[in-house]
């Protein structure tokens, strides 16, 4: 990559970085150095061909109107959960629950970073750095250098009550940079829920390390604020026989880029990453980008990517997904599915599915499709007396079904389905 041609990272200076203890100070300085070396992304970069990075790297964000939820309760409100609240990127202690639980250690990143020694040292910026090769992700390095807060979570037991992070957006001009570090210890289990638009512009990194036999479940809903912009990264490192499952619902955003970078280091592990994005240009500009990179570097691991998009009225969808199977990763079972349902002629979808395989005994495949509602199915449903708008809703939900199925918990899945139903009801015709 030609770094000389890139703009200097003016976004960042040592003065602007949060004050922190020794380990965090070093991690942030290293990240700033990494960013300086790789430069900020430009449209000329292969990885940014379809999503303009410009608005993500301006000194101040474009303002984003705060959405009026008009009494609509936040997603997951019916789920029994441990609640952590950030408002425009600032921790809200009053709105948050007590950050303690059996088998669970939770701290604010700002507290952990102020200490001279902390377990998060082995992960903060570490998994992000691993995820910088073979493709650089400068905005993740920027986040590591500049994150003002976040949470660090360590699960030592099988935690049944999900930990939920709610990102409230209250200020039309907010610029939030949050960074979470999660460690699921051997045999432990953790469910992380995230919801909300967070800020006018939101940069977020989650680094999650799942030890042998650990389980990590993640379900996210990105709010309703249509003008907000977000760049998010999830870096996961998976031990033997571990399970990682992540699902994201997105129905908003002038610009959203969700990157998911997963690395299998132990044998017999499972990683599923899924997403359902529904965009209607009538709500405002909608550009949604799912960028996924899964590296198999262990034997007999299973990876699934299931990304679905429903687009209309000029909404744009992008999918870039790669499965890299290293030489030792025999018996890999990798599958990638990226589909978009274009509800009219104005919507567009671009996809770059990639497989790079160096092992010889693997099953790997990908399928990327883009199409309209099936007219045959539509007629069949209507011929049974189902009105066109209900038939459309049924077919859209059917299209999304295999992404939603990646949510294991029924109550959480029901919350997501309710919101998707509501979106469909709002966007008929």
């Amino acid at each position: 990559m030609n770094t000389a041609a890139k703009p200097a990272p003016t976004l960042i200076s040592a003065d602007a970085r949060p004050v922190s203890g020794a380990w965090a100070h070093d991690a942030r300085a290293d990240a700033a150095h990494r960013l300086a070396e790789m430069g900020l992304p430009t449209r000329r970069d292969e990885y940014w061909k379809w999503t303009r990075p410009d608005s993500l790297i301006t000194a101040t964000p474009a303002s984003a109107e705060v959405f009026d939820y008009d009494g609509e309760p936040p997603v997951f409100h019916q789920v029994d959960r441990l609640k952590i609240v950030f408002v425009d990127g600032v921790f809200d202690a009053e709105a948050s629950d007590d950050l303690s639980g059996e088998g669970l250690e939770i701290e604010r990143l700002s507290d952990a970073a102020a200490k001279d020694i902390h377990w998060a040292k082995d992960l903060y910026g570490v998994l992000e750095t691993r995820g910088q090769s073979p493709v650089v992700r400068p905005l993740a390095a920027h986040n590591t250098a500049m994150a003002t807060d976040g949470v660090v979570i360590r699960a030592t037991g099988r935690i049944s009550r999900p930990v939920s992070v709610f990102y409230r957006h209250d200020d039309a001009n907010s610029d939030a940079v949050l960074h979470h570090v999660i460690r699921v210890e051997a045999g432990a289990k953790l469910t992380l829920l995230e919801n909300g638009a967070a800020a006018a512009r939101f940069s977020k990194v989650v680094e999650v390390d799942v030890a042998d036999g650990g389980e990590f479940h993640h379900v996210r809903a990105q709010g309703r604020d249509h003008q907000r912009q977000a760049i998010t990264h999830m870096f996961a490192r998976l031990g033997a026989q571990s399970v990682f499952k992540s699902f994201t619902m997105t129905v908003n955003g002038k610009l959203t880029r969700n990157e998911c970078v997963i690395e299998f280091l132990g044998d017999d592990a499972i990683a599923h990453a899924a997403g359902a994005a529904l965009g209607d240009g009538a709500d405002g500009e909608f550009h949604h980008d799912d960028t996924v990179f899964i590296t198999h570097d262990a034997v007999a691991c299973e990876s699934r990517q299931v990304f679905k998009k429903v687009l209309k009225n000029g909404a744009k969808g992008v999918f870039q997904g790669k499965i890299l199977v290293k030489q030792k990763a025999q018996k890999t079972d990798g599958y990638q599915k990226s589909q978009s349902l274009l509800l009219d002629d104005d919507a567009s979808f671009q996809a770059k599915p990639e497989l790079e395989i160096y092992a010889d005994d693997v099953i790997c495949s990908h399928g990327s499709t883009s199409g309209a509602i099936d007219e045959e199915a539509m007629f069949y449903l209507r011929s049974r007396g189902i009105p066109a708008h209900i038939a459309t809703d049924l077919l859209v939900l059917a299209f999304l079904a295999d992404a939603i199925e990646e949510i294991e918990d029924d109550a959480i899945s029901a919350e997501i389905t309710d919101r998707l139903d509501a979106w469909l009801a709002r966007h008929r015709g």
Partner: protein, 254 residues
């Protein structure tokens, strides 16, 4: 019940005339059969009556109990009491058979100004109907027609018919792809629905289905028109002499 008058239909996208003046009247409570060679327009007639896109009616009319069918959306025709059992039932991945049927039953009830059926009543209703057609619980749970055998698909069509209780049932080559046992099962399902207030239009190539579903009147369709009508014996004549024989005879008669 169903009245078709001088119906002319062409394909929307190309200048091809398919129906060239169909006249047909099916009274309440009766079973009519339409037989005819490939390409005579039998399936087109069923699609036009049920409101599928792609066809243009250039002349004529079709009414159900006096209501203009051709002016209605497909779902309105269904709510008015029309049902088409498809020759090739459509597979719909991701939509559960049960959800599909409940949505359809309740949509029709709503369109007719009736209350929706409660979940418990619906379940009782569908279980009873499914049992008669030897449709097991698994078939009800699976996505609509996905992975169903030919026979299962046709039984599922009849199940939908039984659940929706239409007034006018059109069966488009329901016998195609069925073995003898499956045909018997499907026919029994249809016969169980025969009623003084319900009419059937059975479209088929072969006489054998009509051994099971006994028609009151048999029509022969050729080149987009009904060219001959008669009693059940007409079906036997087709079986013995083939369409070619009858059509040749027609030309002589003409």
């Amino acid at each position: 019940m169903l009245k078709i008058n001088n119906l002319h239909v062409k394909l929307e996208e190309e200048d091809k005339r398919i129906l060239k003046g169909v006249d047909l009247e099916v009274p309440a409570g009766s079973v009519h059969a339409i037989m005819g060679p490939n390409g005579s327009g039998k399936s087109t007639l069923s699609y036009v009556l049920s409101g599928r896109d792609g066809y243009e009616v250039t002349e004529g009319s079709a009414t159900l109990e006096g209501n203009d069918l051709l002016d209605m959306d497909p779902e309105e025709r269904a709510a008015a009491g029309l049902f088409l059992a498809f020759q090739y039932p459509v597979e719909i991945p991701g939509v559960g058979n049960m959800t599909f049927l409940r949505t359809a039953v309740n949509a029709q009830r709503k369109a007719r100004g009736e209350d929706e059926m409660s979940a418990a009543d619906f379940l009782k209703f569908i279980r009873a109907k499914a049992k008669e057609l030897k449709i097991d619980a698994d078939m009800l749970k699976r996505p609509v027609n996905v992975g169903f055998s030919g026979g299962e698909k046709k039984r599922n069509e009849i199940l939908q018919m039984a659940m929706l209780e239409p007034k006018m049932c059109i069966l488009d080559e329901t016998d195609s792809g069925l073995d003898v046992d499956a045909m018997k099962l499907v026919s029994e399902g249809v016969n169980a629905l025969r009623d003084t207030g319900r009419s059937f239009l059975v479209i088929t190539h072969y006489q054998r289905l009509l051994d099971h579903i006994k028609p009151d009147v048999v029509h022969i369709m050729a080149d987009g028109r009904i060219v001959k009508s008669g009693g059940p014996e007409l079906a036997l004549e087709v079986e013995n002499n083939g369409y070619a024989g009858i059509l040749a005879e027609m030309e002589i008669d003409a």
